[in-house]
Symmetry: C2
Subunit: 218 residues, 2 copies
């Protein structure tokens, strides 16, 4: 309907979304490293910008607050779950699907990023500003859950029941992620704790989701 692309495009084209994403992710990694090394409060925006090799001005153009610099990395982690959720085949229960398909570390990315993410999750318990950013982030991810669940339950996404299920799922994920971060603190990420994590998540979701088993949902 709109005549998109019809205008013969003059001047420099805007950078692609992927490139933007890469830049943000790059900054995010440096920021998280600095946060972990010296604490959030002791890390200045100027420092982050220098480490990432950009000017402070562009840093603030990419992120509204310095705490939000953790977003791209954390989003990668949440994406692991989102992917699995999207791949949830009809007819099979959510819990059993998770048990077979959810491998949080492998899908998400390189091991270093995973460690960094876990470090952030641990930091959120002591740094209030970071906790706030973390919670906002998780809530944004809830939207995705809402969409998937809405389709699953055959209701519009804005439905109260759908939102309740999505919020519930999100809450369970948060506690499970927290527990996972706690248990991997000393040792690295062994296949054991990974399995425990998946099992714990599946178990917990089984506790609170009645209507999402395979038999209930058309």
């Amino acid at each position: 309907m709109v005549d998109s692309g019809r205008a013969p495009r003059r001047g420099r084209p805007p950078v692609s979304d992927e490139q933007r994403g890469r830049q943000r992710l790059d900054i995010s990694r440096h920021a998280v490293r600095l946060f972990a090394e010296q604490g959030v409060a002791a890390t200045s925006g100027e420092q982050i910008a220098r480490a990432a090799g950009v000017s402070e001005r562009t840093l603030w153009r990419c992120f509204p607050t310095k705490e939000s610099c953790v977003e791209p990395l954390l989003t990668k982690m949440l994406d692991a779950f989102r992917t699995v959720l999207h791949a949830w085949p009809p007819g099979v229960g959510l819990i059993e699907h998770l048990r077979t398909a959810y491998q949080p570390v492998l899908d998400s990315s390189s091991g270093e990023d995973v460690e960094a993410v876990l470090a952030v999750v641990r930091m959120t318990h002591d740094e209030p500003a970071l906790r706030a950013a973390y919670l906002v982030l998780r809530e944004r991810a809830e939207e995705t859950f809402t969409e998937v669940l809405a389709e699953r339950m055959g209701m519009p996404p804005a439905t109260f029941e759908v939102r309740v299920q999505a919020a519930t799922m999100n809450a369970v994920l948060k506690v499970a992620a927290d527990e996972f971060a706690r248990e991997t603190v000393g040792r690295g990420i062994t296949p054991e704790v990974l399995k425990d994590h998946r099992e714990q998540l599946a178990h917990a979701l089984g506790l609170v989701t009645r209507r999402l088993s395979g038999t209930d949902v058309g």
Copy 2:
């Protein structure tokens, strides 16, 4: 064990917690009013302090950020639920208890405060900083739920299952509060929407809490 009160107390005594609370609540009311009138970004700390009749310095001593000024008011709302939860008698299911005992507006406080709280909840959808403060606040309230549920389920509060149930309950409460704020936007708080809210909350909690019915819990 400690020789508390043994030292014959010299000098001016520190102000009581109630008085502190009153001061914070007073500031909170002014802050919320200003936020609602002109938006969060357009309201400065100096303005809040002037409206509340204190110096800016003491404002920052009471609240770490200007968004956190909404805390005392919002906490009052959450307290309404906490009270009901604490009054939850053994042997009776949580849902039926809520259906009979939960009257969010009446317990909490004066009608003006309730309207202010709802205004804040609505504002959180457009003001990111406010949303962050709101989410942090709600998560702090989760601790209380954890304690009550832990006692109920006969487990230590740090247990994974207890935390899952508490987080779930918290998530449901959030969605319900959100819906309540949305439905009361034009009209005031009629007994009708109030009843709908209670019913909706009870229904939603029934959906996601299996183990908290009267028969399941000893």
